[in-house]
């Protein structure tokens, strides 16, 4: 891979460190994170590479990488990192930045965000079918209706002030 100096954003690593509160630059590329990553065994996620590219300042490349969204936030790498970097927190900061830069997150995230914005939960109560093919709902299980903000309009307004409406495209 050829890296051209005009592809580099030298302030990127500082930006990521500031948002995540993590010393990203202290990474010495040992690769323990990639080695412990249960997702990377099956997906395109190479944790060490993402950290290296972040430190180098390859902002566009990092933020547009689908691998960012393949981290399970399981914190296995964090527990093992000899430099004490909370890598999942860095991943979350990168995802936040990607969204802020206009990179669309996987569809499922937007769907959940929209549902929380409108109803307070990531999805409405589902009808479940049992292994004996019987159908049940909260009502037929004698469970009360789900918990919701008392005033959904005020709740959505707070989320709108944070900028969630803009993210979900409302």
């Amino acid at each position: 891979m050829v890296i051209r100096s005009n592809d580099l954003d030298l302030g990127f690593v500082e930006e990521v460190s500031q948002i995540s509160g993590e010393a990203v630059k202290s990474c010495f590329q040992c690769g323990t994170c990639t080695g412990t990553c249960p997702s990377g065994r099956l997906t395109s996620l190479r944790t060490r590479m993402i950290i290296r590219k972040t430190v180098l300042g390859l902002k566009k490349e990092v933020l547009s990488s689908p691998a960012l969204w393949e981290c399970m936030i399981c914190f296995k790498c964090h527990e093992q990192c000899p430099r004490g970097v909370n890598i999942p927190t860095v991943m979350l900061a990168l995802r936040n930045l990607a969204v802020r830069e206009g990179v669309p997150p996987p569809e499922g995230y937007l769907k959940m965000a929209k549902s929380v914005f409108e109803e307070g939960a990531v999805q409405p109560p589902q009808e479940v079918v049992t292994r004996d093919f019987e159908s049940f709902s909260r009502t037929s299980l004698n469970l009360s209706s789900i918990s919701k903000p008392a005033d959904l309009a005020k709740f959505s307004r707070a989320l709108g002030e944070i900028g969630l409406r803009k993210i979900i495209g409302g």
Partner: protein, 289 residues
């Protein structure tokens, strides 16, 4: 008690069994009125949204002067992490309180957040559980699955030790069942990438189930509805994807505890498990018949 999204909208056995067994151990469950999502999945797209949502639920709990018991590992981590972040940053706390003022709420940070494993192991205790049960799970061997966020990140104070947890195993032992270590014990269920890389997440969950089946366990035990969704509800999808016939019983700890207390299957939501749990229940019932 804070149910969280998946327990409330899909994993109904989690709520059903918790409501059956916890009051029998003198843990009074009070629902937090007006609660919404803990925000955990939205932390990926906007950190402040997550902070606000979690602080909001904690503020509602403060108003009722209760300890917070989230049933899901993800909700529990959210609450611990946001409490920590708001304690660290008075500026962020003020910002969040500005948003909460729209609903006349205020976050102070006084709520104690408990994990269900802590409540059962540290507060109630295995001895008390042992005394409460009438039908022990003799002759069965279970694998404990804590779920990532019950154990990590360790510096935040999790439900048990991050490298060598024992509480869930001890709780299984209190039911008269055997437990054993297995190499994949601390591994993730895969739910974290269910929306971004669905097939990989199923493979991750399937790999653990297959290992447990061949290692001679009678079932997997967890407390987390997000993990249970992978190991139980998604088991058919895992089988279809891997082309295998992997079918392996998965239970909520509270379901097994309820069975041992003599609570009927339906009240514990055991008819809702999608994995083949009948054999284990029959074994238990045959022994005590």
């Amino acid at each position: 008690m804070f149910l969280g999204c998946y327990a409330q909208t899909e994993q109904y056995a989690c709520e059903l069994s918790a409501r059956q067994v916890l009051p029998k151990l003198d843990v009074d469950l009070v629902e937090i009125r007006g609660a919404a999502c803990c925000g955990f999945p939205l932390n990926s797209i906007n950190n402040l949204t997550w902070t606000y949502l979690t602080a909001r639920n904690l503020a509602l709990c403060e108003d009722q002067h209760l300890d917070m018991l989230p049933l899901c590992n993800g909700c529990h981590l959210s609450m611990c992490e946001v409490k920590h972040a708001l304690q660290d940053s008075p500026a962020l706390k003020e910002k969040v309180n500005g948003l909460l003022a729209l609903e006349d709420l205020r976050y102070e940070g006084t709520t104690r957040v408990r994990h269900i494993i802590e409540v059962l192991h540290d507060d109630v205790g295995p001895e008390r559980i042992q005394k409460t049960i009438s039908r022990p799970l003799v002759g069965l061997k279970f694998a404990a699955h804590y779920g990532c966020h019950a154990l990590r990140p360790s510096e935040l104070g999790r439900a048990d030790d991050s490298r060598n947890p024992r509480k869930l195993e001890t709780l299984i032992g209190a039911l008269g069942a055997r437990w054993d270590m297995y190499p994949e014990r601390l591994d993730c269920c895969g739910a974290g990438i269910a929306v971004s890389a669905g097939e990989s997440s199923l493979k991750i969950a399937g790999a653990k189930l297959e290992k447990l089946r061949t290692a001679g366990f009678d079932g997997l035990v967890t407390t987390c509805p997000f993990c249970m969704r992978m190991y139980d509800a998604r088991q058919e999808a895992i089988g279809a994807l891997l082309g295998s016939t992997t079918s392996f019983p998965a239970f909520y700890y509270t379901q097994l505890l309820g069975l041992c207390m003599g609570v009927d299957r339906g009240s514990l939501g055991l008819h809702l498990n999608m994995s083949p749990v009948d054999e284990v229940i029959q074994k238990l019932e045959a022994k005590t018949a």
